[in-house]
């Protein structure tokens, strides 16, 4: 089976004052469908940049990315937005739920930006996603009324509502207590059974150990890529 994502010679260079900073300095990687991968590295290692580029939030300076058979390294902003709403899900450290929306509205948000989106169908899909993360008892609540663990589960529901191919979780446990860390990681891990690729971005080795494959990064390069 071909990989979901193939990246070759990926570079990202920022200009900082008079200097060029290489956030990514030639990265070659493959991601399989239904894989649970952790990208491990200290801050400044390039792991966030890699996640942003693979998540269609940024474009590389050089290199190629083949996503599901299509070259996607140089897409225009609207096309990247299409990929974000159809193929990618994000889970953030700070949850990033919108405080004025109810949790089902938050979960339905990615569907809102799809063409021909229908509010009733969106809410139904949101409820289904919330059921999968065990949050149906909180329908109608706002994020402020939820605990950290609950909020992150809602965020996971938002990430899966659009049936993405890949989910990026950026330090998803950084704001959670021990009990909820396991719960959220188990939840993310369970998604691979549905063929979703889960990419965990973290600087925490103990979190990264939950994944079957750990990619260590340093100074914009892949230092180690091991499968347990």
């Amino acid at each position: 089976m071909p990989p979901l994502i193939t990246i070759r010679g990926l570079r990202k260079t920022y200009r900082m004052g008079d200097e060029n900073v290489h956030a990514l300095d030639g990265v070659d990687l493959d991601f399989q469908k239904g894989e649970f991968v952790a990208i491990l590295g200290p801050s400044g290692s390039g792991k966030s940049t890699l996640m942003h580029i693979l998540g269609f939030m940024d474009t590389p300076s050089e290199g190629s990315i083949v996503f599901d058979g299509e070259e996607v390294a140089r897409l225009d902003p609207d096309r990247r937005a299409w990929y974000r709403s159809h193929r990618v899900g994000f889970v953030f450290q700070a949850f990033n739920l919108l405080p004025r929306l109810t949790i089902e509205e938050n979960v339905a948000l990615p569907l809102l930006y799809r063409d021909g989106s229908d509010p009733a169908a969106n809410l139904a899909a949101a409820c289904a996603a919330l059921e999968r993360v065990g949050m149906t008892h909180r329908l109608g609540h706002r994020p402020g009324q939820l605990s950290g663990g609950e909020r992150q589960r809602v965020a996971v529901a938002r990430a899966i509502v659009g049936t993405p191919s890949i989910i990026f979780a950026d330090e998803p446990t950084g704001n959670l207590d021990v009990k909820n860390v396991d719960r959220v990681l188990d939840l993310l891990g369970s998604l691979i059974k549905e063929g979703i690729t889960v990419v965990l971005v973290t600087h925490d080795l103990s979190v990264a150990e939950k994944a079957r494959r750990v990619i260590s990064m340093r100074a914009g390069l892949v230092q180690e890529d091991r499968v347990r």
Binding site: H86, N96, P110, L112, Y113, R114, G162
Partner: protein, 428 residues
């Protein structure tokens, strides 16, 4: 349809933001509220004034009326005074024959401010000798159930008949007496009342009570007066053939200037070159009024324009502040798939919602202002300027505020659309 699908959630979102930030939204709307209120109130009141004035000019015979009055000879012709005949019925004949642009000629011979007596009641009013042409020239009429006006036959036969103004009736007759057919006395001469002139009512409330003594303002004089055949007036009272004035009605208001020229030439020829008359029209009055109206519109429109402009800046300011507060939200929305255009629409819709709500509140305020202005104007002006709110004007005011809101929303919305999602998500 697709655009509607994208706009609908944006509008709902805008209403939510408004609800979540009530005080701030109200403050940002204040400029729009005042702008719309002053715009609508201004246009309404000025239109009211214009309408009232048109009525007033109309009551004076309208723009189609030319008035010829008897005048003293100018200095350089004073030595020819004995040649001056003044205005006579001969002038009426001459104009009728030689000035085709004139449709009606109404000779008027004022008898004086006379006491009119009916049984034990009496009242004072101006008595004027006229012909049947008085009605079309003065734009007056006699209601069918109120008798008839002076006829050509009355003039020919010098009959002693009288037509009374509607304001005179309650002074002379008890409410249960039909004035038509009654006999009144003017300087001891007995006149049969043959009709009552129509009552002039303005649309404004200050004009409606023309029958009462207490009010009626400038309109009251139009409803008083008494009219007898011009021949009766000249022969039985004045003892000469001199008329006080001539009222002319022209066929086409567009040809007013030509009609005035025609009349002047005819009159000068008939009067052997003596300028013992003056010719005037309502044109100047109307022109003066138009200038006043334009000045009003310009100055009040300027005020409304400035407040709407300030209102627009207010909205832009609050939208920029709101975007600054919601940078993270913008980042999240972009991360889950929102395009720049989605966010542009969202924030533009928010600005539009603020301006629509502001515009509606402004309309409410304008109702208050117009009511207050009406009250003040009816107290201050005899003719009054009673304005009624017009849906069209209100609609225009609202549309104007929406346009302002949309223009003010463009820049903030563009900023939101252009934010980099990664930067936005990092924003604390």
């Amino acid at each position: 349809m697709r655009l509607f699908d994208r706009v609908r959630p944006a509008v709902i979102n805008g209403l939510r933001e408004l609800q979540a930030n009530k005080v701030r939204s109200l403050l940002s709307m204040s400029g729009i509220i005042l702008g719309v209120a002053s715009l609508v109130a201004m246009v309404t009141v000025v239109q009211g004034m214009v309408g009232n004035f048109r009525q007033f000019v109309d009551a004076m015979g309208g723009i189609e009326k030319i008035t010829i009055l008897r005048e003293q000879l100018p200095k350089e012709q004073e030595h020819l005074a004995e040649l001056s005949e003044g205005l006579t019925m001969r002038d009426v004949e001459r104009i009728r024959r030689t000035a085709p642009l004139i449709r009606n000629i109404s000779p008027e011979a004022r008898v004086g401010y006379e006491k009119i007596v009916y049984e034990d009641r009496e009242t004072n009013t101006y008595v004027t000798g006229v012909t049947a042409d008085y009605l079309p020239v003065a734009k007056r009429w006699v209601e069918p159930d109120q008798g008839r006006f002076v006829s050509d036959l009355d003039v020919l036969n010098m009959t002693d008949v009288i037509v009374l103004g509607s304001a005179v009736i309650p002074e002379l007759f008890a409410p249960n007496v039909d004035p038509v057919g009654q006999v009144v006395k003017v300087r001891g001469r007995r006149f049969t009342v043959i009709g009552v002139l129509n009552n002039i009512e303005g649309t404004g409330m200050q004009i409606r009570s023309a029958n009462s003594r207490s009010s009626g303002g400038a309109w009251r004089w139009r409803n008083s007066g008494a009219f007898i055949p011009v021949s009766t007036a000249l022969t039985k009272y004045n003892g000469n053939d001199r008329l006080t004035g001539l009222g002319l009605r022209i066929t086409d208001p567009e040809q007013l200037r030509d009609a005035v020229d025609q009349t002047e030439r005819t009159m000068l020829a008939a009067h052997k070159g003596l300028r013992d008359f003056s010719i005037s029209t309502n044109e100047q009055t109307l022109e003066d009024f138009r200038k006043t109206e334009a000045a009003f519109k310009l100055s009040l429109g300027g005020v409304a324009g400035i407040s709407l402009f300030v209102g627009g800046i207010g909205i832009m300011n609050v939208m920029l502040a709101s975007i600054n507060e919601r940078i993270r939200e913008i980042g999240v929305r972009k991360a889950v798939g929102a395009r720049g255009s989605d966010l542009f629409l969202q924030f533009l819709a928010e600005a539009a919602v603020v301006s629509v709500v502001g515009g509606l509140l402004g309309l409410l305020v304008s109702v208050g202002i117009v009511t207050l202005m009406n009250f003040i104007l009816t107290q201050a002006l005899p003719t009054g300027a009673v304005a009624t709110l017009d849906w069209v004007i209100m609609g225009e005011g609202l549309a104007f505020s929406v346009v302002i809101g949309l223009i003010a929303g463009v820049y903030p919305a563009l900023r939101a659309a252009k934010l980099d999602p990664i930067e936005a998500l990092r924003h604390e």
